[in-house]
């Protein structure tokens, strides 16, 4: 792991921002095409993009599909996530693209004329809206609960209880999504970061322990962010492969029947 990360550090500075741009754009494109054009169910499997299922009101314009009514939650959650903010400020806005003097200065000039640097507002102008992140967190916790439900539902095959490769994937995905959601900085704040004194609180010790646990998860927040993004993709892709009959779901432990 450390060999990989030190090799990564030796790459030219632009590799990291460009990778982020490519991966996020590809993910955005894929998920948009998927939810706009294709159904999200196959037997007991529901794609994580399509849960919870909400009924589509009649007055909705035709291009809106049911998953779009829910997807703004995880989308908003990631868009306002402290980690993804870092990633896109660096990769899409080049502000800063990297931490080296030459690069920071060069970008400054290339950006937009002479006084662009002085016009920087950071998160004080438009991006001040990122402060609503906590509300996306609250909504995402609900979505995560639904996805746990969907994961358990995959255990109910056509012949009764079974464990298949698909189920394992659905569980892996929701575990990673939960790790991402509960390692959130806003959650860490809510659970104990907003308190100065635990010994002054009733149940303070439990509070502190939870806070310390979340802090440990939070150390790996970027990692959860990427892994859960990829697991979402893999899960949806698996469903597409099932739908089109390219693969069949391999049952590991058959039961019931």
């Amino acid at each position: 792991m450390s060999a990989i990360s030190s090799a990564w550090k030796r790459l030219p500075w632009w590799v990291e921002p460009m990778t982020v741009v490519l991966v996020l754009s590809a993910f955005g494109l894929y998920s948009f095409v998927a939810i706009a054009l294709f159904p999200g169910e196959f037997r007991q499997f529901v794609s994580p993009f399509y849960s919870p299922e909400v009924p589509l009101p009649n007055w909705m314009p035709g291009f809106v599909t049911a998953p779009m009514l829910v997807l703004w939650i995880p989308l908003g959650f990631r868009a306002t996530c402290y980690y993804y903010r870092k990633a896109y400020y660096r990769a899409f806005f080049f502000d800063p693209p990297a931490c080296k003097t030459g690069v920071q200065q060069k970008m400054d000039r290339f950006w937009a004329g002479k006084n662009a640097a002085e016009g920087y507002r950071g998160e004080r102008a438009l991006f001040v809206w990122n402060n609503i992140h906590r509300y996306f967190l609250y909504a995402s916790i609900i979505v995560v609960l639904f996805l746990w439900y969907e994961a358990f539902r995959t255990l109910l095959g056509p012949q009764g209880f079974q464990v298949s490769v698909g189920s394992l994937l659905w569980f892996l995905n929701i575990v990673l999504l939960s790790a991402y959601t509960f390692s959130c900085h806003s959650f860490r704040h809510l659970i104990g970061g907003n308190k100065d004194c635990y010994s002054c609180l009733r149940g303070g010790n439990a509070r502190r322990k939870t806070y310390n646990f979340v802090s440990r998860l939070n150390l790996q927040h970027p990692q959860w962010a990427w892994l859960s993004l990829f697991s979402l993709l893999a899960t949806d892709l698996y469903l597409r492969l099932l739908q089109t009959g390219v693969i069949t779901d391999f049952v590991i432990i058959p039961f019931g029947g």
């Binding site: 502000d95 003097t101 920087y120 950071g122 998160e123 402060n131 704040h189 002054c200 303070g204 150390l219």
Partner: protein, 268 residues
């Protein structure tokens, strides 16, 4: 991790004296340094070459050059043990402690220059006094109780990390809000968010700090891009453990409609 281990080794050599070629056998080869020579008016990089000694840090090389080739080369240092925070400079465009960076960590030519977010005085020395001015503007610690306090470990464990700061100001130097966008007048910089976090989370401190953080210290200018965290020589997770927790507290106070409503109802 590896870096720390390497550093421990170099520290155990001779704490204060530069590692000169006479006291440790030459390991063959030379180190090529391009050192910035100049002042506030400008300057240029000058090439130097010095015999490479095993375990040598950049500060050794610079002091060796100063002793033998360029007696007027200005460099600030003190402890040579990564403790005093005096020897901060930029190596290959990134802030680093000269005394903590081993020469053999770098391949090829090594560019050494002063910190650029502050006015250069001469060669590798820049004027960091702006930081002391910012520091003066931060409300000092104040408590309702008389020290010594009775405090519990679980309430202060979070306060050890910000206390590790050695005030090297490298995080200030690398922060694009200062280095690229020159917001020195409106932005306190990561070092002072670290300090504010310590004060704000201190169970005995009674001061209201969030307003100052938002308005005077420009916390909102920080876009959490973590360059400060990348360079901190004592490993403070500045962005994750100081800045973001403070942003969350500021959000409680200024950007959370539900909390705002609750305060209205309770008449606060």
């Amino acid at each position: 991790m590896d870096r720390d281990a390497a550093n421990d080794k170099s520290m155990s050599s001779k704490a204060h004296a530069p590692v000169a070629n006479e006291d440790l056998g030459k390991s063959g080869g030379t180190a090529k340094l391009k050192i910035f020579r100049g002042d506030a008016e400008g300057g240029r990089e000058v090439d130097y070459e010095i015999p490479l000694v095993e375990g040598m840090v950049i500060l050794d090389a610079v002091l060796g050059i100063q002793a033998e080739q360029a007696p007027d080369l200005a460099v600030r240092w003190n402890c040579k043990a990564a403790h005093c925070g005096s020897c901060s400079a930029e190596i290959n465009g990134k802030p680093a402690l000269l005394c903590k960076s081993r020469v053999d960590e770098y391949d090829g030519e090594i560019h050494v220059g002063p910190m650029r977010a502050f006015p250069v005085i001469k060669d590798l020395v820049s004027d960091v006094s702006w930081n002391y001015e910012v520091s003066k503007g931060i409300k000092p610690f104040q408590s309702d109780e008389q020290a010594p306090f009775t405090m519990y470990e679980e309430d202060v464990e979070r306060l050890y990390e910000p206390k590790k700061c050695i005030e090297c100001f490298m995080c200030q130097d690398v922060c694009h809000v200062l280095r690229t966008h020159h917001k020195h007048a409106e932005f306190a910089g990561p070092r002072f968010f670290v300090r504010n976090q310590w004060l704000e989370m201190h169970p005995m401190d009674n001061q209201e700090r969030l307003h100052d953080l938002k308005e005077d210290n420009g916390l909102g200018y920080c876009n959490i891009t973590k360059c400060c965290t990348e360079v901190c020589p004592v490993g403070i997770k500045i962005t994750d453990n100081s800045i973001i927790p403070l942003k969350e507290r500021v959000a409680d106070e200024y950007y959370d409609p539900a909390k705002w409503l609750m305060r209205k109802i309770r008449g606060r």
